[in-house]
């Protein structure tokens, strides 16, 4: 039935699989980054092609449309400038009050924009790859955000690319709090998020919580990875679980993780 060479091949593959499978996590991560680097030329090529197509379609946009766009952007720019002015005042006040109380001064975020080059092709994980790496100052455990809210954290950084675990992935658990009630919990993946990546669970909430649908969930700042106050999402459903030991809530994420093109990494 089975000839000798077949046995040899089967044993060889199983042995090799076991060896690679049991590599130390550091070596495994390095090997993964090196293998992932093989695909960078193709991702670069596809990005350049997309840019060319966008440029090509942009060339045919009407003058009237462009003028309307400029007008809209000017208005938005004006509003944002006013908001920045207002925020600067609040920032100064915050710094002065912190000095008076002897609290540690909050630093401003250093931000690095990045393009999403690929997504995790498997169905069991929520992850993506960015076109920034250690050459841009990106390293492991840095938070990744968009203007809508939290996206995830960097889990591995190569020289020119990095892997990000999205919120809802088992490798990205976030300490969070409900802004209105100040109830603390942990953002973790759940079975509801298998088909809808925008649904995650806020678990280990205290039993005597006052969590209601519609309330905002933000990062708590505990754990040292994510700064405090980054929007995560909104409560859609809350229930008591774990034989009544703690409560759990479903959260709809603020950032649309299914259609990300550009994200921002918060540098240290």
């Amino acid at each position: 039935m089975f000839r000798r060479p077949n046995y040899v091949w089967l044993s060889l593959i199983l042995l090799l699989g076991l060896i690679v499978f049991n590599l130390p996590s550091q070596s495994g991560a390095h090997l993964k980054l090196a293998l992932g680097g093989l695909f960078l030329p193709l991702f670069g090529l596809s990005g350049a092609t997309q840019n060319l197509v966008q440029l090509g379609t942009g060339a045919f946009e009407s003058r009237r449309g462009l003028q309307q766009q400029i007008e809209r952007l000017n208005q938005e720019n004006q509003q944002l400038r006013l908001q920045v002015l207002q925020d600067q005042g609040i920032w100064q006040e915050n710094v002065q009050l912190r000095q008076l109380l002897g609290w540690q001064r909050n630093g401003r975020w250093k931000l690095k924009s990045a393009r999403v080059v690929s997504r995790d092709p498997s169905n069991w994980w929520r992850g993506l790859q960015l076109d920034v790496g250690s050459r841009d100052g990106v390293r492991k455990d840095l938070p990744v955000i968009t203007s809508e809210g939290l996206v995830g954290r960097v889990v591995d950084a190569g020289y020119s690319h990095c892997q990000v675990a999205l919120v809802g992935d088992p490798n990205c658990r976030v300490s969070a709090l409900v802004a209105e009630t100040q109830d603390n919990g942990i953002i973790a993946p759940g079975s509801a998020g298998v088909l809808d990546p925008l649904l995650v669970y806020l678990t280990y909430l205290p039993n005597n919580n006052h969590v209601k649908p519609g309330q905002a969930v933000v990062t708590s700042g505990l754990g040292g990875v994510f700064p405090k106050g980054i929007p995560i999402g909104q409560i859609v459903f809350a229930d008591s679980v774990g034989h009544g030991l703690y409560a759990e809530a479903r959260v709809k994420l603020a950032a649309n993780l299914s259609h990300l093109e550009y994200v921002t990494v918060i540098l240290p």
């Binding site: 690679v20 695909f39 193709l42 690929s118 169905n123 069991w124 889990v155």
Partner: protein
């Protein structure tokens, strides 16, 4: 088996992993991403030798794992087992029939994620799974319908680049009927 087939299969695996990472419309439409590597493993099992099969399982599996959060090497074993199983019984399979190719592909595309998930759970990894996973595996199994297309594509590719088969003459000197007096 020519080296061209092996190279074209490895190139196919490379492109398959790239497409799965960059094209998301199937995932957006159906809630799951399809995997083309089991289809290639079926083709390799039906048409190539063990060397090519091992190379495909190693390169395809490791490349796929490198792009995901899977433990490295977890995808190589299902790919090799699919290819090896097909290789063992390829003489008993109607491998030129489109229906047989499609059925093999569907079976392989359902078996690969199940075994990968099982291996990950055994190894202590914590993938995201639940009742929705059954739907995802169904979608992935339907992705096995791409197997006959893989057969056609690689057959065309090999015919285009391989030397044409020399036509054999039906004349055999030892069977020549010699007339007249000898």
């Amino acid at each position: 088996m020519s080296g061209l087939t092996a190279i074209s299969l490895l190139l196919g695996a490379y492109l398959a992993v790239f497409l799965e990472s960059s094209c998301q419309w199937v995932r957006h439409a159906l809630g799951a991403q399809i995997d083309l590597l089991p289809c290639l493993a079926v083709y390799a099992g039906c048409r190539t030798d063990l060397w090519t099969l091992v190379a495909l399982a190693l390169f395809g599996g490791l490349s796929f794992d490198a792009m995901t959060a899977n433990p490295l090497g977890v995808s190589t074993v299902p790919l090799f087992l699919i290819g090896f199983g097909t290789y063992r019984y390829r003489d008993k399979i109607l491998r030129e029939q489109v229906f047989a190719q499609a059925m093999l592909g569907i079976g392989a595309c359902a078996f690969a994620p199940l075994l990968t998930l099982g291996l990950m759970l055994v190894s202590g990894a914590q993938p995201v799974y639940g009742w929705g996973t059954a739907w995802q595996i169904l979608v992935m199994a339907v992705g096995g319908l791409a197997t006959p297309f893989c057969f056609r594509l690689f057959n065309h590719f090999n015919h285009a680049f391989a030397y044409p088969v020399a036509a054999e003459s039906s004349f055999r000197p030892d069977r020549e009927i010699k007339r007249g007096k000898s």
